[in-house]
Amino acid sequence: MPAHPYFYHTQRNVVDQIDIKLTPEALDLTAVVRKVESEAAGGTCVFVGTVRGSTKGKPVVRLEFEAYAPLALSEMRKIAEALMQRLPLIRIAIHHRIGSLQIGEIPVIIAVAAAHRKAAFEACEYCIDTLKETVPIWKKEIFTDGEVWVSAHP
């Protein structure tokens, strides 16, 4: 990239290296991993979130996810962009599902490819940790005797 005397930190153009998806359809693990494939990659770190069968010992019937889509997409993109600028990564994919999910189904898949594994591991963890803090997606647990929006109350 051309160096300019007034800019000490040059932003890479990372538009093509980021794949963000929000969908009611079942996620496809192979497809997400393919999104980050590159012959420059030495390692790909993948996080797969899954719906647990119980919360604090209480059986869960299913989860329901909803999202404020425009902001969810832009916030997921922001997380990926920040990581692409900060760490030596090749590609990032973040796919999140919304709607009704059964036990064992997959609400989120994150894949990060890098030349070397250290950056991929770090980015993958940061990605899911930050998504859980900033992305406007909400999950509701459905029990046999009621429904609870996760984390809504202290």
């Binding site: 979130g49 996810f65 909803e66 999202a67 404020y68 425009p70 902001l71 969810a72 832009s74 999140h96 609400p107 989120v108 899911i128 998504l131 859980k132 803090e133 900033t134 992305v135 406007p136 997606i137 909400w138 999950k139 509701k140 929006w149 996760v150 984390s151 809504a152 109350h153 202290p154």
Partner: protein, 80 residues
């Protein structure tokens, strides 16, 4: 000035609706809107937090609202 509020998650349950209109005086900030919501719907006080977005960006407490703004109510998020 008229605001359109768009509610998600538990906020939608509290308002019993996805969208509602609010009529507030001009110069109203997010902090003032939050106070009005908590006064009209005390259940909002029980939430761990509530954030707001305008024009698809998070906004701070001091953000000044304009007539016709669409404000998104963002209760504690729980994605992933």
């Amino acid at each position: 000035m008229k605001l359109k509020l768009l509610a998600f998650g538990i906020a939608k349950d509290i308002l019993h609706d996805r969208t509602i209109e609010y009529d507030l005086r001009s110069g109203t900030t997010i902090a003032m809107l939050r106070d009005a919501l908590c006064a009209d719907y005390p259940e909002f006080r029980r939430l761990t937090s509530i954030s707001f977005a305008v024009n698809d960006e998070y906004v701070s407490e001091t953000h000044v609202l304009q007539d016709g703004d669409e404000v998104v109510l963002i209760p504690p998020v729980s994605g992933g």
